[in-house]
Amino acid sequence: MGIIKSRDQSWTLITYSETATPLPPYEAGYLVGMVENEQRERLITQIDKKYRKVLSIGLQGKIRPIENMYGEINFFIPVMVEETKEETAEVALVTGSLRGIGRAIALELAKNGADIVVNNSKFLPEGEELANEIRKIGRKSTYIPTDISNYQKVEEMVKQIIEEYGKINILINNAGITRDKKLENMGVEMWDQVISTNLTGTFNCTKAVIKQMQKQGGGKIVNISSIVGETGNIGQANYAATKGGIIAFTKTIAKEYAKDKILVNAVAPGFINTKMTETIPPGTIQDIMRQIPLQRFGEPEEVAKLVHFLISDKSNYITGQTFNINGGLFMS
């Protein structure tokens, strides 16, 4: 690009503004500034919002080209920050993130500054679309469809993430499926499928990232369980077993890796408005609604906000816990 000039020299921030009126294809607000070098050449740059607090006129820094929707654009990196700490975004793998709660989590974490690896079992255009949406927010994103019930494939995915992003700090074990029937009608294959994705998938992903997190000096893992894992539910022996299993798995991994500063928690949503709950017959919905003290289903974004709390610095003394988010339907 013609006007990207020598990046290695020192640039001075001469003015900046935080704008809430992004120019498409940018969607969220951003910091934009003007910098000047010793030859008095000037450039418009973007500045990562994480530097907001340290910004001031006259601040010295470097220019880094970063790929975005437009192509390559200049970012200003304040020198003082660069010298003290190599600040790069958190990298999060969210399994099963093409829709529902997983998608909401991916977007919420991206909005809060994380780069996101989007995942589901088999390639779908929606995966690329979500990755694009995340890039428009200004974060990096890669869509990697992978069958998480296959450990070897999960290892390959994690290897690819580390090659591409250099690290992985956050794992959200969200992928889950249902194959509902009462026990007498539940085929063995129905049991196996649900166990493979929900429970073995969680085991595989956690095992595949844990060494990297140890090496990095910490990490955060959030496992998406379910109210059904605590209360049981007619027709969901397989699903309930996996979700209950996830709670016990969470406690165990939290104990095993607390010394490595890897914090592991579980979130147990109640009834949330997603494709998964769309299949419940209207009559049953009325029955359920009557039992929910808050008298409504939750929204995926509400679960996503709780997950964001659990991967943020605000939850650094919390591990091995299960957080119910169910409108009061079940109180432990």
Binding site: A20, M34, I44
Partner: protein, 379 residues
């Protein structure tokens, strides 16, 4: 040269399309002048976004359809937000050849997503230097505001007073976008931050509208107003190419040339319409036009010197801020207001003893500047 007829649609959110707006403004100018349309020999059309928003370019031919079988020479002029001023400037040059020219400014901007509008307006900036890294116009003017505040110690409180004045004046203007909006300082101060330090009430709105004027070599009635200066200057498009953000050299040079043409000085100007696309732009304009020294505009504003009753009323129609900013129409609408005032037809917002008025129309962040000076004819 004389302005012998003026017409303006109500600015704001309308259901009219581009052509309906144009037609209404033209008809009003014709009625105002009682001038037979057969006498119009050429037309200049000012429009900025028709190509991007309505996919309507070749606007001269579209306007030709409003004058069937005339086959007039019609030209569209586009210099971003200064399109109107530039069209008048071009028309005046063409008066070497014609007796009577209609100048029309028209823009349809409402009904689109804010992102679509932001991107369309950003087309007035440099693609590589400004647009790719996401520098919107609010952000550009935020840079100007930040630098101005740093250099001269102005504050957001000063900007708020400009917004308050604009909204008050607009309540007295029946064709203003915000005629019916009562705004107080609290509302202005608590409005959302658009691009720090500029808040919503520092920004002109997205408006539809059209304005038209008829220019003639001859005087036709006592209501006619003389154009005694017209100047157009340009500059680098991007702020990255400018040394100082706290003034617009193009506006300063155009003003100097206009004062020379008109043989007047800034102190002779009785009222002005300046390009307040953002409140900070009005402060910069007051200094570029030589009304006050650099850094002094904040004192003028605090003293009320630019209010309706002040010594130099500015933006008596509400300005771009509250009269509205249908981009292609803005420069023509400024002349509409000065002519209305010099004729003594401005009603409750009439400036007393108005003899000489000035319009200041700017494209981008001072990339284009068109200045006109108009004079009341004393018998």
């Amino acid at each position: 040269m004389y302005v012998i007829g003026i017409g303006k649609t109500k600015f704001g959110v309308t259901t009219q399309n581009l052509i309906q707006l144009a037609e209404e403004a033209i008809n009003k100018a014709m009625v105002d002048s009682s001038f037979p349309s057969e006498n119009i020999q050429a037309i200049y059309v000012s429009n900025f976004l028709g190509g991007i928003l309505q996919n309507q370019l070749h606007l001269n031919s579209v306007i030709s359809g409003l004058f069937p079988h005339r086959h007039l020479p019609i030209i569209r002029v586009e210099t971003a937000c200064a399109s109107g001023g530039a069209a008048v400037h071009q028309a005046l040059i063409a008066m070497n050849k014609f007796e009577n020219i209609l100048v029309l400014g028209v823009e349809k901007m409402t009904g689109y997503d804010s992102g679509v509008i932001s991107k369309a307006i950003a087309s007035a900036g440099d693609v590589e230097r400004d647009q790719l890294p996401g520098l919107s116009f609010p952000a550009s003017y935020a840079f100007i505001a930040q630098k101005y505040m740093e250099k001269y110690g102005a504050t957001s409180d000063d900007l708020d007073l400009i917004s308050l004045k604009a909204h008050y004046n607009a309540t007295l203007n029946p064709s203003a976008h915000f005629q019916h909006k009562k705004i107080d300082l609290n509302t202005i101060k608590n409005s959302v931050m658009v691009s720090s330090p500029l808040r919503l009430f520092d920004c002109s709105p997205v408006s539809d509208g059209a304005a038209a004027i008829i220019i003639s070599k001859k005087r036709h009635s006592k209501r006619d107003v003389e154009i005694i200066a017209s100047s157009l200057k340009t500059d680098f498009i991007s702020l990255t190419q400018r040394e100082d953000f706290t003034c617009f050299p193009a506006a300063k040079l155009a003003a100097a040339e206009a004062y020379q043409q008109a043989k007047v000085s800034p102190s002779d100007i009785n009222l002005a319409e300046v390009h307040d696309c953002f409140t900070i732009a009005e402060m910069v304009a007051m200094e570029d036009l030589g009304f006050c020294a650099p850094g002094e505009s904040k004192e003028w504003i605090k003293m009320g010197r630019t209010a309706l009753q002040g010594s130099l009323p500015i933006n008596t129609d509400g300005g771009l801020k509250a009269n509205g900013h249908p981009i292609g129409a803005t420069g023509i609408s400024q002349i509409y207001e000065i002519v209305t005032q010099l004729r003594g037809e401005a009603g409750s917002r009439q400036v007393k003893a108005a003899e000489i008025g000035l319009t200041h129309n700017v494209g981008g962040v001072g990339g284009t500047a068109a200045i006109h000076i108009l004079k009341k004819i004393n018998e």
